[in-house]
Amino acid sequence: MTQPSRRRLLSNVVVGLCGGAVLLALVPLALVFFYVIKQGFSSLNWAFFTQMPKPVGETGGGMANAMVGTLILIGIASAIAIPVGLIAGVYLSEYAGGKFASAVRFTADVLNGVPSIVIGIFAYGLAVLPVHRFSALAGGLALSFMMIPIITRTTEELLNLVPSSLREGALALGATRARAAFGVMVPAALPGIMTGILVALARISGETAPLLFTSFNNRFFTARLDQPIASLTVQVYTYAISPYDDWHRQAWAGALVLVAFIFIFSVLARIVTRRLERMHRT
């Protein structure tokens, strides 16, 4: 074989391997989508979105309370994690230098890697044990612990990408450090930070483990934050391990709604990022 054709062959093999790896990565996603839609779609109906769970033994009913519950939990988690994560990220990027900053960075990375069930146990000890009651607040708190490190690190990394000449420009006009950070640097990094926040949201909206013994579950509708509250993930889990066929069907439907939910979040993240970026470019 001549030299050039050998090189071409090698190149083709490597390109082929790359393609194969991409397929391997995409196939599970496609299968999950396919299977969840196949199993869940037939059980989806209007009642599923509007009705409460029926008592054991009765067929039908829906997961309206769990959907509202999931939204409430995400809302609580965001209300805690977005300000905390954002401010911590600004601190790391704009103020901190040296040992303390690297300690915070390391802690955030470790927290990001802590198994979600452990975070659930921690939130249980922090917010459930002292008051002897499962609550939406405890669930939201557990989820916020998962969001904070993601938001902190993305905010920091994206702020580091903003040219420091912008900070100098603001300071030279008589801005304080804080004003330069929040008035110029954060807006300049906003598209990326928004993506980080939406990625964190997508990540936590699918979590079950941190909720198992914090927000627990609730077969009834509630909007009270100091009460146990239903969530799609825990509801799906409960129904999936039950012995009833009708509940199994509903679990599939719940899983489908959840996947759709996260899918919409991700698409939204894309759209928002594009919009903001376009505003910044021209």
Partner: protein, 285 residues
């Protein structure tokens, strides 16, 4: 007349090229009588960690004129400029010795409000750095954060600053589009407008035209020429012709020391130091 600086006594002079050193006079500078000094440094030294970047610079910047700072790369002219509005404060592990006087008050002295100082001593950077906001918001930024005018006066003040930087006619139709859509030269003039909007007393320019094409450079130079009627300007430049064109006074820096400071005309036609002549005629640097 020549002003030379021997540096502080503890620093060995070995690194300085042939410079004859008469005892340094007070930096009255080569100015005609009656010209007021706006800014002045006395024995200003600056350290990056253990590295001394400026060696006892004494220099006066007279008002309503342009003082050009020239010298080879790394000679400390930008560092010097950034001492004048304390922009070096944000670099960790740096130290300043000596005095920087703005209207007679030491800006490194206690009780200086750095934020207010930077409002009074504006700065334009080498690379234009408009904020990723609209043209209007860029110019209004300094006015807003300093609370310099009522909200209703903003458009008027923004227009005034843009007219002063000769940008108004080019951008008046697109005030609320992103500043990043402007050309490089326009962006730099926008940065000048942004600095002018807060009505500083002194304007520092760090190679404001070095990243621009000749036509944009010419516009900036014309602008500087107009601005000196109202402002005191110090400009760092690598471009000899530019220094000769826009400035009244020129200070030649070399290895962190002030070698010569005189009327621009004198520096460029009959410099007092051999080394200045060598630099200006392009024999090194």
């Amino acid at each position: 007349m020549t002003v030379t600086e021997p540096g502080s006594p503890s620093i060995p002079m070995t690194t300085v090229p042939e410079v004859s050193s008469p005892p340094p006079p007070r930096p009255a500078g080569p100015f005609p009588a009656g010209l007021k000094t706006r800014m002045e440094t006395r024995r200003l030294s600056f350290f990056y960690g253990k590295n001394q970047a400026l060696h006892g610079i004494s220099l006066a910047i007279p008002e309503k004129s342009v003082t050009a700072l020239i010298g080879p790369s790394g000679c400390g002219k930008s560092t010097y400029l950034r001492c004048l509005n304390r922009m070096n404060d944000i670099i960790p592990n740096t130290r300043v010795e000596g005095e920087v006087l703005l209207d007679g008050h030491d800006i490194y002295g206690p009780g200086t409000d750095v934020v207010d100082l930077r409002r009074r001593v504006g700065m334009v950077f080498q690379r234009s750095n408009p904020f990723p906001k609209s043209i209007f918001e860029n110019v209004a930024y300094g006015l807003k954060i300093n609370g310099l005018c009522r909200h209703s006066e903003l458009p008027e003040r923004v227009e005034k600053a843009l007219r002063a930087s000769a940008l108004w006619d080019e951008v008046k139709e697109r005030m609320h589009t992103s500043a990043l859509g402007l050309s490089g030269g326009q962006q730099q003039r926008l940065c000048i407008a942004r600095a002018l909007a807060v009505e500083p007393e002194v304007l520092l320019m760090d190679e404001p035209a070095s990243a621009l094409d000749p036509i944009a450079t010419q516009k900036i130079e014309e602008l500087i020429y107009d601005l000196k009627r109202d402002y005191t300007i110090a400009i760092v430049t690598h471009n000899m012709q530019q220094a000769a064109r826009v400035s009244e006074y020129t200070a030649f820096f070399m290895l962190g020391r002030l070698v010569e400071h005189d009327r621009t005309e004198k520096i460029f036609t009959n410099p007092g130091q051999k080394i200045t002549e060598d630099y200006i005629t392009g024999r090194f640097g």
